[in-house]
Symmetry: D2
Subunit: 317 residues, 4 copies
């Protein structure tokens, strides 16, 4: 099917990029297939000091995500309830909490039906296989509730580009393959098949450091150039997470296409991409001990039929 179409990568001046069929006609996991048991076993060896770094943002009422999305409503509807009041025999007091949220309101993985084009999602799944009442009958995020667990490789672009004073790359800066190669060389890391690429742009920290500048936060962001798509494919990256709101650079590098990286990564490569991560603490620690690799554990929630998921990512060193 993908053979008959002009792929998005080709429209964008890249080489033909597609993993359709690579892991069989029925595959629903995409590049997470690179994360084999052997990869995980090797990644486990990254746990050395027992230091844990939470790589997400607080789930409060103002996370740095797309302004069109519903925020997080987090309530404690049952509060300090003496048990007797709710018909329970107990001397206790109890609380429950309730959440209403766009799953993409804070730290998130975009799953393999988050976006598509030409009437299809990753591996030829048809748009009719995704509906409001049934969710995604193929490629749903719950297929990855035992994956996205692998070696994490932090690409500390803030340090590499000498942006420590600002704390973040320049808004609109597009990270290139050369940037990745140079940064990894400086960090003395050789990327392996199945790695999670964790890209530190500093943009999430900027949200919290400068609340007054939030109005312009979304329109212009540092992020991945579409040129890195070939690099990610060459290196068989298992998943990529960035501390901005859309992984890719904004404004877009392609006229008339706001999210070109998304189209290729998710629909053609089957690459799970992570947004609104926070690597500030991990980056600080990595500079201190000069080790940029970790055991990265961020499995997808088991949201049956879900298109996106809100993980609790941790990097363990």
């Amino acid at each position: 099917m993908s053979n008959e179409t002009t792929l998005a990568s080709e429209r964008f001046g890249l080489r033909r990029l597609s993993n359709w069929g690579r892991w069989g006609a029925n595959d629903e996991r995409g590049t997470a297939n690179f994360i084999t048991p052997a990869v995980i076993a090797q990644a486990g060896a990254e746990v050395k000091r027992g230091a844990v770094f939470f790589c997400g943002v607080p789930m409060d009422n103002a996370p740095p995500t797309h302004p069109g999305r519903t925020g997080i409503i987090h309530l404690m509807p049952v509060v300090n309830v003496a048990a007797a009041e709710v018909g329970m025999k107990s001397q206790g007091i109890f609380n429950d909490n309730l959440v209403t949220m766009n799953v993409s309101a804070a730290t998130q993985w975009d799953g393999l039906v988050h976006c598509g084009y030409d009437g299809a999602y990753y591996n030829g799944v048809k748009t009719a296989q995704v509906s409001a009442h049934r969710g995604a009958t193929r490629n749903a995020v719950d297929k990855l509730s035992d994956s996205l667990i692998t070696r994490g490789v932090l690409v500390d672009m803030v340090a590499h580009k000498g942006r420590d004073a600002e704390g973040h790359l320049a808004p609109g800066y597009a990270i290139t393959p050369d940037d990745l190669n140079a940064c990894l060389r400086a960090e003395n890391v050789t990327v392996r098949s199945g790695d999670a690429l964790l890209v530190h742009t500093g943009w999430t920290a900027h949200w919290y450091a400068h609340p007054g500048q939030r109005a312009s936060y979304f329109a212009s962001q540092p992020g991945m150039s579409i040129k890195t798509l070939e690099w990610l494919d060459d290196h068989q990256i298992g998943c990529i997470a960035v501390d901005n709101t859309g992984v890719e650079v904004k404004p877009s590098e392609v006229a008339g296409e706001e999210l070109p990286f998304h189209l290729v990564a998710i629909r053609d490569l089957g690459l799970t991409i992570g947004e609104v991560f926070d690597f500030a603490a991990l980056a600080k620690d990595s500079r201190d001990d000069r080790r940029y690799t970790s055991f990265f554990v961020a499995p997808a929630q088991a949201l049956v039929g879900g298109c996106n998921t809100a993980p609790t990512p941790v990097a363990i060193k």
Copy 2:
């Protein structure tokens, strides 16, 4: 403060059990303090084959949780949207999903303000410090988004009690300290400070295997006897997760108190307890390779001010 009161453990005929003040007057993490970096580092060595076992239940519209709780509403409000329809310049089609749920609707950790008594929560936090509009200003679950990562010790009570044919312990069966000791001896495991105790009763699997018996599912369940509270304290268990709906046995062992284990564990010991887990696959694998330990990773969601959390627990071997 706890010294002046008759503690729940004493009312229930146990020895005086309390960790208030053990890690300082301001501690908000309770027994998760046993999970030190050294514990985590040692636990990481459990990753050997790179096999991952998801230990939660599917987040669908009928998880086996307390019938009084709001279920999971999981919708995909934006489905197959041609980008142009939502004012985006793109040839793509996009989906988002939205969740409304009681955080305790499926697999859950009860946090340290989930329950209390005598006007106080763990470590002397007052009921006034928890409110509907602010949530928990102390002891909230987001304090553990970088914890609950440790060695998991599976206590396969189903196998140990010879209940393979039924697949679960008898409803109402109360697991005792002797049971734990005997089962661990048979498994050749010595519990260590900071371990996560993962108790396999088979009750979650029973929900899925026998939908017709759900009406009686909650009232009578296998689970922990209150007598194990002293054992958990003696062994400095970091957290405990069970594959039933309330960790403890139902009906209650204490007249006039439906949740006696909860009161002591959460409020006095500061023990994070996990409900509606599923250890069926992990148990099967453990019987096969005769290894009952794993690297257990189940950090709390960063729900600011939350009382409970819905983790995505994985055991990695």
Copy 3:
């Protein structure tokens, strides 16, 4: 378009029933068009004593609606908040409340895109004109936020059939055109074009009177026979509301079609139908003063693009 198809009414052995085109090709209001200003002006004269009867059910957590629907989650997330706590300069304390509900969880009007068949809704609206992210771009309920205000004619079937002892018609009883004619004759009412027909079966009251019988409440209910569809059309009824969960009798009178009345009424006649109303108090008063007509005011909520609506219906006498 409707001319080329076999209509549902014909399949069900009725005469050809359709109002498509009757009020123009772009009409979105259906039989609410019968409710003209002249009809409303005349109906206003029903206000005599100033007695008001609320004709809905309480919006609590257990209304008598379809069991597959999400119930009402009604919370007060901000409770007794001293203003200073939320950054407001005030000596006051404040509360807000929040609702999450299937709009059809309690008293409801089914709007003109609630159901269709053969790829179309009332007046030829195509299924593609209704989507999860945009809602109904045609025939939405907010078109009737200034309508469904007319003379209400109570058809007190409970009294007419001598079912005062039970308080409701027999489960499964199908109300026929002869029933309507006889009952209205006994009540001394002549139906007029644009009237709201309010049918008292007693079934809603049964829900509240006999909580123990709720398990069998839905499967068998008294309600309208499909034969009344011709009668409703003949009499140019503006809207119909019944105190059961689906207007029509259950089980269905048509093999293989659970909701035959719905298909004809909503899709072909453009008739707004009301469910889960409560006419107990109105019926009692009507027996007392022997007047079965009222000024019935139940406009649709202004839910932009909505398919159903939760009105607050009142009958004023």
Copy 4:
């Protein structure tokens, strides 16, 4: 009880204003008690031409309400569902819709536990009688699901102040008793006990007419001066609705108290006040036919235990 305290009205330089006890120690309806059957019967005579004016705003995702409130999430989770897909025997296709909203997100009545001070709400209800899990056990809005139906008197301040060119009163303009008297005299209306006062400031229309000016919309608004509280009490007004976001003028007339009108009106007078109404169409019609009175029907939703309610108000002439 109220006798022992300095009332808010006294603090604000008004005369002592309180209706506590006026309709008995257990009254939960406040000034809605002025709306007697006789008042309603007389009001019904306002229905003459049968013209209906919806006086609320569209329930979409951007209504003009307080920016701190959760907006309206309105979804159609079940869309174009062929019945067979959801296990129903039918040739039909069906839709349902779901709403999550702060009840005060759009057109709203503030009920008698929306605000209080000094630990009490209207008629001496204590703050402990209102909680997150039980809602309001006294003074809840569902007590008024058969009220707020009376004669509506439109006070067209836009016309009276010669602000037709702008379409609204000046931001920050405080409507005084003299304004009310003069405007009503010009309209040839004598206010009666139990009337609903409908105040046209033009501010709601301004929201829709000038989307670009929304950032400054809330901070400065035309609205009622606190001096009108005595007038409202003198004239035994049943309820008041205004087309701005808080009934009262903003900024506040009282230093250190953002919502002085609220405290007196809701807590001391028991006056139900309505916000985010829209009287543009009603005002236009009233100018045309020189009749400023109508039959105003806006009963509260039957939200059990609710503090606020989202009515569907109509004025019928």
